[in-house]
Structures are given as structure tokens and as C-alpha cells.
């Protein structure tokens, strides 16, 4: 029933899983044939290149394996123990969490503020929306190369601009300074991805019936109260969805970071995925790398299941 009135996001895996499609009386022989024919090509590719690698990673992670010879060195959970005790891995987990927290606390509110601003009535909203969302289509490689120039300690864009504004300005090595580098990276992540969340919020806001807000105003609510008690609760499903996407997206950040700093200086900007590349593949330790991969999957899976059960469940409630 609630199906039609609330925003529907088709990226939610389990959404409306039991919604009623017009049921045909029975599954005919022809349909069984079609079902098999249609599922098989996708199922083969998906299983061979996604499911199997994941399961194999679980198996390889129990071996000390350089990736070349046969799997002989069974070491149980040795790889996991080694990873959890490795200070650089610990740093990389913390950095992934920092990026996640910053995304939730800065990127999402920024996206919401812009969606409210550009949202519904502002003349020129299409123009601004297009610009803010544009970096989403740029490859991470291009983005990282451009920002390598922006952050260049010599005559990079940022230092040049700041030098014209601030007198006696001393150029800063944004990516070389271990106190700043992670924040500088986060700025690039925000630059590239806040538009995605803004678009999702705009879609959510657009589905609100503006008469509800209008009647609150007539009842004497000021703009802040309307926002706090009417608008935000009505887009809550969208907010819950973007929190979900933002956390998973942050845990998966990797390419930008690798090109910008390669985890440096002195491994201070390493995140889980870059750690896996650096200490798994680059040092020919595929068993160890698999253990790191499994750790990342488990974190993503636990978060996903927990979040969907605890937080997003109510978004399905009306739809079943």
C-alpha cells in the first residue's frame, strides 16, 4: 500500500521482496524453459567471476602462499593474526573509519544542504545540479592526476591561489604532510562524490507533497521547524539509504588514495584496500592478501546485514 507514496530506490537489495507481481495461474513448461534459459548466462558469469573468487579467498587466506607454487603451507588463522597485529593494518582500519565518519558528518550534511538549496524552486537549479554532479563521471585516475597538480607543493593550483590571497604565504605540501594528507584526500573524495548524495536527496525531496510543509507554515511553524519536524522526517528513508551507501563507499575507497599518495607519507594514509594491494599483491603474499580481503568483506557484510535489519527494516515495512 505504502508502495506508491514513498520514494523507491532500486539499489536496495531486499526492497519489496514480496511485492505482488500479477501472479500467473501456474508455471507452464514453456516458462520453466524460459526461466532456465534466461538465468543461466548471468548465473555462470556471476558465479565464476564474483562468487567463486570470494569463496576461494576464504580458502587461500588459510595458507602462507606467494601465489605461484602449490598451496602447501597451511597456517590456519595465522594470516589473520598477523594482519590484526600489524600496526600499519591497524592504521589502515582507523583511516577507513575516519573517512567513513567524515563522510557521514561532513559530506552528507553538505549534500543535504545543497539539495535543499538547489532543491525545488531556485532558478538555475538545473545548472548547479549539473555542475555539482559532474565529477561523478570522471575516472578516479583523471581526478587523482588533476588533484595531484592542485596539491603540488611547488606551484600547484591551491598554493598559487592561497599565495595571491594571503600575504607572506608559505607553500604547503598538502599530500606530504602526515597531519594534512588524509584530510586532503577526504576533500577530493567529497569533491568527486557529494553530488551523488545530493542527487539522491533531491529525488527524495521532490517526492514530498509540499502541501504538508505549507500547512505547517500556515499553522505558524518557522522555516527551521518545518525543516526539522516535517521535511527531514519525510526524507528519512533517503537519508538512511545514503548513510548505507556512504559507509560502504567509504570502506571501498582505494584508487583515488593510491594514485594521490600510495598510502604515504610513511603509510599514514593507508586504507584497508590499499593495504591489501601493497602488502598482498605487491609483496607477492596472496594468502595474506586474501585474509585482508576476507576481513574487508566480513566488515562490509556485517555492517550491511546489521544496518538493514536494525535501521532500514522500517523502510520495507510498508512495502510488503
Amino acid at each position: 500500500m505504502g508502495n506508491r507514496s514513498r520514494p523507491r530506490f532500486r539499489f536496495i537489495p531486499r526492497e519489496q521482496s514480496k511485492a505482488k507481481v500479477e501472479e500467473r495461474p501456474r508455471t507452464t513448461r514453456e516458462q520453466l524453459f524460459v526461466i532456465g534459459l534466461f538465468i543461466i548466462p548471468g548465473a555462470i558469469i556471476y558465479t565464476v567471476f564474483l562468487i567463486m573468487p570470494m569463496l576461494q579467498a576464504g580458502y587461500y587466506s588459510l595458507f602462507d602462499w606467494n601465489g605461484l607454487g602449490p598451496l602447501t603451507d597451511f597456517i590456519g588463522f595465522g594470516n589473520y593474526e598477523r594482519a590484526f597485529q600489524h600496526s600499519i593494518f591497524q592504521t589502515s582500519v582507523v583511516n577507513s573509519l575516519i573517512i567513513t565518519a567524515l563522510s557521514l558528518l561532513i559530506q552528507l550534511p553538505l549534500a543535504m544542504a545543497l539539495a535543499l538549496m538547489v532543491g525545488r524552486k531556485l532558478p538555475g537549479r538545473f545548472f548547479f545540479r549539473s555542475i555539482f554532479f559532474m565529477p561523478y563521471v570522471f575516472s578516479e585516475i583523471i581526478t587523482a592526476i588533476i588533484w595531484t597538480f592542485v596539491y603540488n607543493p611547488g606551484g600547484g593550483l591551491l598554493n598559487t591561489v592561497l599565495a595571491t590571497v594571503i600575504p607572506n604565504y608559505e607553500p604547503i605540501g598538502w599530500l606530504a604532510n602526515r597531519n594534512i594528507a588524509l584530510l586532503a584526500i577526504f576533500f577530493v573524495i567529497t569533491w568527486k562524490y557529494f553530488g551523488l548524495h545530493m542527487i539522491l536527496y533531491m529525488a527524495g525531496l521532490q517526492s514530498i507533497n509540499s502541501e504538508v510543509e505549507e500547512s505547517a507554515r500556515i499553522d505558524g511553524a518557522n522555516e527551521l521547524q518545518v525543516l526539522r519536524y516535517i521535511t527531514l522526517p519525510l526524507v528519512a528513508p533517503t537519508i538512511r539509504l545514503t548513510v548505507y551507501l556512504s559507509v560502504l563507499g567509504s570502506l571501498n575507497q582505494f584508487v583515488l588514495i593510491w594514485i594521490l599518495t600510495a598510502g604515504g607519507p610513511a603509510n599514514t594514509t593507508q586504507v584497508m584496500a590499499s593495504y591489501m594491494y601493497r602488502f598482498g599483491i605487491k609483496s607477492f603474499n596472496l594468502g595474506y592478501g586474501s585474509a585482508v580481503a576476507v576481513t574487508i568483506f566480513v566488515i562490509a557484510l556485517v555492517f550491511s546485514i546489521g544496518y538493514q535489519r536494525a535501521i532500514m527494516r522500517r523502510d520495507y515495512a510498508g512495502s510488503v
Binding site: L50, L122, I145, A203
Partner: protein, 290 residues
């Protein structure tokens, strides 16, 4: 007049000058942010015509003498066109296979009823948790075992596998929204299941198919780590690998690097302008208009 309307509808509607002021403030913020987005991009595009010194001193200015040789050097090199061809092969293969397999899956999961359907569907959405950017290590081991190193299929098939969950989800949502009366009519007119899929559903689902095509094009075109691991033969490299190698080689000559960046970013912007509608449809499930 303002007073009249305000007594009738909202007693607290702000005065005109307050509204103008808040509008101005809004535009100031929006323009400042737009500059932060566009500044680096414009610098890169202009930078392709400059020397490194000019880029450092006058990032936004026009160069005294445009250095067209930055561009001609790249456009005359064989490797650039080879890499472009490789990128096109990878994108075409990935997109066509992803759309076909996902559309078939989405049809089964949206319009046919059979036992275990939701379970199988959930199995297919598991992959949403692990984008290929993070699963590259296990995928790389598997590709090596199958013997797809240095083959385009070593890139294409994993990208398809990781594209299937999201694409199926988008298409399934769209297929479900097509009224069942159409389906009944098609069956009454003598269409079989296959006929309904091909003659009714696929033409109607063009916006969703477009969204999947565009989103997958972006993913395949931008992929970097998978080709880096799978392709040791540099004659098969796509542009993403090409530009990283170029940057490694000419890292200090920012003008040349920016020329290469511009050759990739200008088409990306055009592509974005032309397909923005589809991207937004795909990401928001068709909710956002205007």
C-alpha cells in the same frame, strides 16, 4: 501586495528584502562551490596548452603562446590510438554483456513466478557489497587460474559479473512498474513469454536500459586496477593505464600531462551532458525530474 498575501496564507512569510538577501546568500554559496568544482577542471583543460612554468604562475590565464605540440605529440603517437581502441573494446564488451544478462535476469525476477525466486534474487544482489575496486585480489587469482591473463575477457567478464547485481536491480524495478494489463493483452494476442519480453518489455524499458548502459560505460571506461593486474602486454592497455604511464614518464612536464587529461576529460564532460538524464534515472529509480 506582499502584506495582503501574507495575511491570507502565511503570517510569518519573510519580508521581500529578507528573501532577496537569502537568495543572494544562496547564490553566493552555490557559485563558490561551483568554482571549487570547475576550477581544477578548467585549469587542467587550459593547462594542456601551457608550459609547466605558465601553469604554476598563471593557472587560470591563457598562455602567451599556445603549446599545441602538447596535443599533437599525443595525437600523433600510435600508443594513444591503440589505447583508445582497447578502451572501446573493453567498454563495448562489458556493456553489451552486462545489459543482456541483466535484462534476462531482471525479467525472470520481475514477471515470472516460480518457487525459490526471491532466494535466487537475493543471491544475485550479494555482489552489491563488493565492488570490483575492492575485490580485485581474489578476482585476479581466479582470472589467472582460468588462463585469462592478457585477454580482454579477463577484464570484461569480471566487470560484467560485478555489474550484474546493480543492473539487474535497476531493470527489475522498471520491469515491475509495467502494468500487468499489458502482459495479459500480449498473451491474449498470442504472444508467448519470449514474445512478451522482446516485443513489449524491452521497447518500454528503454530509459532503464539506457541508464544501465550509461552507468556501465562509466564503470568500464574508468576501470584501472583490473587491467593493471591482468594485462601485462602493453599493446592491450586501455587509456587509464596509458595516462598513468604517461604521467610517470612526463610527471614533471605538467603541460603535457594536462593535455592528455584534457583529451579524456572533454569527451567525458560531453558524454555527461548528453547522458545525464539516464544517469539520474538509473541512480534514483526515475524519481528525480527537471
Amino acid at each position: 501586495m506582499a502584506a495582503m498575501t501574507s495575511t491570507r496564507t502565511t503570517p510569518r512569510r519573510p519580508l521581500p528584502w529578507q528573501r532577496i538577501l537569502s537568495r543572494l546568500l544562496q547564490y553566493a554559496i552555490l557559485i563558490a562551490l561551483a568554482l571549487i568544482i570547475l576550477g581544477p577542471v578548467l585549469t587542467a583543460v587550459l593547462g594542456g596548452l601551457k608550459t609547466t612554468g605558465e601553469l604554476y604562475d598563471l593557472p587560470f590565464g591563457l598562455p602567451a603562446v599556445p603549446r599545441w605540440e602538447n596535443y599533437t605529440g599525443i595525437l600523433n603517437s600510435e600508443s594513444f590510438w591503440l589505447q583508445l581502441k582497447n578502451s572501446v573494446i573493453i567498454v563495448t564488451g562489458t556493456v553489451s554483456l552486462t545489459v543482456t544478462t541483466s535484462a534476462l535476469l531482471a525479467f525472470v525476477f520481475s514477471r515470472l513466478v516460480f518457487p525459490g525466486r526471491e532466494l535466487i534474487f537475493n543471491f544475485f544482489t550479494l555482489g552489491l557489497l563488493f565492488p570490483v575496486t575492492i575485490a580485485f585480489l581474489p578476482v585476479f587469482i581466479q582470472i589467472r587460474q582460468i588462463g585469462l591473463i592478457d585477454s580482454y575477457f579477463g577484464i570484461i567478464l569480471p566487470l560484467v559479473a560485478f555489474g550484474i547485481p546493480g543492473s539487474t536491480l535497476i531493470l527489475r524495478g522498471f520491469f515491475r512498474s509495467i502494468p500487468s494489463e499489458l502482459e495479459d493483452a500480449a498473451y491474449i494476442d498470442g504472444c508467448g513469454t519470449l514474445g512478451f519480453f522482446w516485443y513489449v518489455l524491452v521497447p518500454l524499458a528503454r530509459p532503464a536500459l539506457g541508464a544501465v548502459i550509461v552507468l556501465q560505460t562509466i564503470v568500464a571506461w574508468n576501470e584501472y586496477f583490473l587491467p593493471l593486474l591482468v594485462l601485462t602486454d602493453d599493446s592491450k592497455w586501455p587509456l587509464t593505464l596509458g595516462i598513468m604511464q604517461f604521467q610517470g614518464q612526463y610527471g614533471t612536464d605538467w603541460g603535457r600531462v594536462m593535455a592528455f587529461v584534457s583529451l579524456l576529460i572533454v569527451p567525458a564532460v560531453l558524454f555527461y551532458i548528453l547522458t545525464q538524464r539516464y544517469i539520474v534515472t538509473g541512480l534514483t529509480g526515475g524519481e528525480l525530474k527537471g
